[in-house]
């Protein structure tokens, strides 16, 4: 008579189950490492981008190995040759897409600016904004400049801002609403056209003396020769107190940017 066994006998653990378990643990560890990278970017800062790449490749390799256990091998053995071809093609396609997704998405995630970056460098500076002129894309003023404008223009103003710059004004328009409005873009276009479509303002604006800026002073002798229609319109709007501020933005020359208040001729150099 055999002795009663206390408790339930453990089911035998096969090699396949061990291997599956080991691979699952490996995936979990690699994922944890990726999350860690995401939070502190230590591989990027300390060991370079190559390690990050190896990390993603390793994750893909382990996933592949784990997926081998998920393949319905018994069904494959019984399947017709057509089904075998389809299953094989589907499997290869699945692995190829998985690899691309792991590398592409993982890379993008890991190279994103992290919370720590943003705490260290500030919200806007953590974002790389391309301010290169002439590449055919929609371009915007440097966000730090936009924030400065938003901070400088008083909340109560109802006068318009004449934006002159080599980047598009939409961010300003959005950020300033409803406190202030940009001057009609027609004015800006007139000025651009008068300058032959060029954004080279050198010689028109003296950034070191914005209070003497010829752009906005009705007595300026240069204006009639350069842009008569624009000058007339600006003078009219200034007389009606419809332009209260002039913002000049030059992406190539940060020291030439300024925010100029017309009514007091007090200017605030930005950089």
């Amino acid at each position: 008579m055999t002795e009663p066994v206390a408790g339930r006998e453990l089911a035998p653990i096969g090699k396949a189950r061990h291997a599956r378990l080991a691979l699952d643990v490996a995936i979990a560890v690699l994922l944890a490492a990726m999350v860690l990278s995401l939070l502190v970017r230590w591989p990027v800062y300390t060991l370079g981008f190559k390690l990050l790449r190896y990390q993603h490749e390793a994750l893909f390799a382990v996933l592949c190995a784990r997926l081998l256990f998920a393949v319905p091998w018994q069904r494959m053995a019984k399947a017709s040759w057509r089904e075998k071809v389809l299953l094989t093609a589907g499997g290869i396609l699945c692995l190829a897409m998985l690899r691309q997704a792991v590398l592409f998405s993982g890379w993008n995630i890991a190279t994103e600016r992290t919370l720590l970056d943003q705490m260290a460098f500030g919200r806007w500076e953590a974002m790389e904004v391309r301010a290169d002129v002439g590449d055919g894309h929609l371009l915007y003023p440097d966000p730090a400049f936009v924030e400065r404008v938003v901070a400088e223009v008083p909340a109560s103003t109802d006068s318009r801002i004449l934006y002159l710059g080599d980047q598009r004004p939409f961010i300003l328009a959005h950020q300033l609403y409803p406190r202030a409005l940009l001057a009609p873009p027609r004015l800006q276009q007139l000025l651009i056209d008068a300058m032959g479509g060029s954004w080279q303002w050198t010689g028109i604006v003296d950034p070191l003396k914005p209070e003497e800026s010829p752009l906005i002073l009705p007595s300026d002798p240069k204006l009639p020769a350069i842009v008569p229609e624009w000058q007339a319109e600006v003078r009219s709007l200034i007389a009606q107190k419809k332009i209260g501020w002039v913002i000049y933005y030059d992406s190539a020359w940060p020291d030439r940017r300024f925010i100029h208040r017309i009514d007091t001729h007090a200017a605030a150099p930005v950089e």
Binding site: R17, R20, L21, D24, I27, A28, L31, M34, V35, L38, R66, L67, F69, A70, R82, E83, L86, L87, G90, L93, C94, A96, M97, L98, Q100, A101, F104, S105, N108, I109, E112, R113, L115, Q118, R123, W124, A126, M127, E128, V129, R130, G136, H137, L138, Y140, P143, R168, P169, F170, I171, A173, H174, Y177, P178, L181, L182, A183, P184, P185, R186
Partner: protein, 469 residues
């Protein structure tokens, strides 16, 4: 938390009427698993909001925001009470349990990958500012105007001197964001980006649900969803700004409605449940209210429904299915009608007035553009690092799929996607914009709208041939 918590509460306010409507529409289903009710409730909740706002703009000329919030609460309470008090409505369940097989842990790990990914996107959305043209100049700006002035009939909205373009462009997304801004009394950009980002998890969950409905095993459905995970970066603005979904482009948001519309019509023709037809039609209407391309989605699904009704009506009489095929675009337009009437009163913008370009001379001149358009879009689609293999595989499978058309099987998605693509190419040929500029700023975005359906098409190709119906 002053920015995120209000956004989450607002999302809950949008979800509640959606849940009620989802239950009412899905009458006859025994249960509604979370992979279905989550995306359906989200889409329908946004739909309730957008239609209510459009009706107010149409009838009252302005949006009474308190009334809108009360309307949401009323729809939610009335719908949930009605569906709870009567039999025949589905119960709202959790996610369909994972099968107790050897792949259980792997599925859990894949779910964990998804959660980490979503968390990254939300983190990104919260911390990065709107940077794209669409985010800044169109969506959030319009939302701010709607929240501040409560109407579209205002000089700020329609006066081109206010640096505001695309004045009559569909405004479902601005109306949704404006509800948040108004409730808080301030522009809450991070909160807006949380709402925009929520579309993506909902899209992935909807994809999983549809894939399971087509017969894919849970692991296969999860793996098929993997290519979607790089979608947030497959966008001109996302790439350039690093802003991903938070940059403010709404092509993926539009893609969510388009996916639900097309996929629900597709499974309707397989299963014949009425709610699938209704969701297909309603989401078609929401596409129209989200972007101009929505009209293409309605037209493409109408074409595919007609093709299905004529070629493969299934167990129904041809008259019955033809009636439903005719009614589908009518229902979609009926959903969007309040907005379309509001839109008709707004000034046009002529830089994208494609309808005005339709004359024989423009079309004839556009034919010369065709090789360039095909070359540029084809080269972009073949960029594996950007689009994974989805477009390459889709193109490779088409000849084999064509054999299925002849057998009158498995052609609904093709009948929808191919005319949609052809229409987009046609628009490029007649576009008044500079072609290089137009292609560089929009082709990747159009492709990202279709990408979830293309992945579904690839999955359906294999399932159709490996799974007995």
């Amino acid at each position: 938390m002053g920015t995120i918590l209000p956004a989450m509460l607002y999302l809950a306010l949008l979800f509640l009427p959606g849940i009620a409507l989802a239950r009412l529409l899905c009458r006859g289903e025994q249960r509604l698993p979370a992979e279905w009710w989550l995306p359906l409730s989200f889409a329908l909740g946004l739909g309730v909001h957008a239609v209510a706002c459009s009706l107010c703009l149409l009838i009252l000329g302005a949006i009474p925001w308190i009334g809108i919030y009360l309307f949401h609460a009323t729809v939610a309470v009335a719908g949930l009470w009605y569906s709870s008090a009567r039999p025949g409505f589905p119960t709202l369940d959790g996610f369909t349990p994972l099968p107790a097989d050897a792949n259980r842990n792997l599925l859990r790990l894949l779910a964990l990958v998804g959660i980490v990914f979503f968390a990254t996107l939300y983190h990104n959305a919260i911390t990065f500012p709107f940077t794209g043209y669409d985010g800044q100049a169109i969506w959030s700006f319009k939302a701010a105007i709607l929240a501040h002035e409560g109407t579209v009939y205002t000089p700020t909205f329609v006066d081109p001197a206010r640096v505001h373009y695309h004045r009559n462009y569909p405004i479902l997304v601005p109306m949704v964001l404006a509800g948040l801004y108004r409730a808080q009394g301030a522009v809450n950009e991070p909160g807006a980006r949380v709402i925009l980002t929520t579309f993506f998890p909902m899209l992935v969950v909807a994809f999983f649900a549809v894939a399971r409905r087509l017969g894919a095993a849970p692991l296969v459905a999860a793996l098929a969803a993997v290519p979607l995970f790089s979608l947030p970066w497959r966008n001109d603005f996302g790439e350039r700004d690093g802003g991903v979904l938070g940059s403010g482009s709404i092509d993926l948001q539009f893609g969510f409605f388009a996916f639900l519309s097309v996929a629900c019509f597709m499974i309707y023709w397989r299963e014949g449940r009425r709610w699938q037809w209704w969701i297909g039609a309603i989401c078609g209407g929401l596409c129209v209210m989200t972007k101009s391309e929505g009209l293409l989605v309605v037209a493409a699904t109408a074409f595919a429904n007609f093709a299905q009704a004529i070629l493969a009506p299934g167990q129904y009489t041809r008259r019955a299915v033809l009636l439903r095929a005719v009614a589908a675009p009518v229902a979609a337009i009926a959903v969007a009608l309040p907005w379309l009437l509001v839109q008709s009163r707004l000034p046009n913008f002529y830089d994208e007035d494609y309808g005005g370009q339709l004359n024989a001379a423009t079309i004839a001149a556009g034919i010369e553009r065709l090789p360039v358009i095909l070359q540029v879009t084809g080269a972009d689609a073949a960029r594996v690092w950007k689009w994974n293999y989805i477009w390459v595989v889709f193109a490779a499978l088409m000849p084999f799929a064509a054999a299925g058309w002849l057998r009158r099987k498995d052609f609904f998605l093709d009948a929808c996607l191919l005319p949609w693509m052809a229409a987009c190419i046609f628009v490029y040929t007649i576009s008044p914009l500079n072609l290089a500029f137009h292609l560089s700023t929009s082709s990747a975005r159009l492709m990202s709208q279709m990408a979830p359906l293309v992945v579904l098409r690839i999955l359906a190709f294999f399932l159709e041939r490996l799974t007995p119906r």
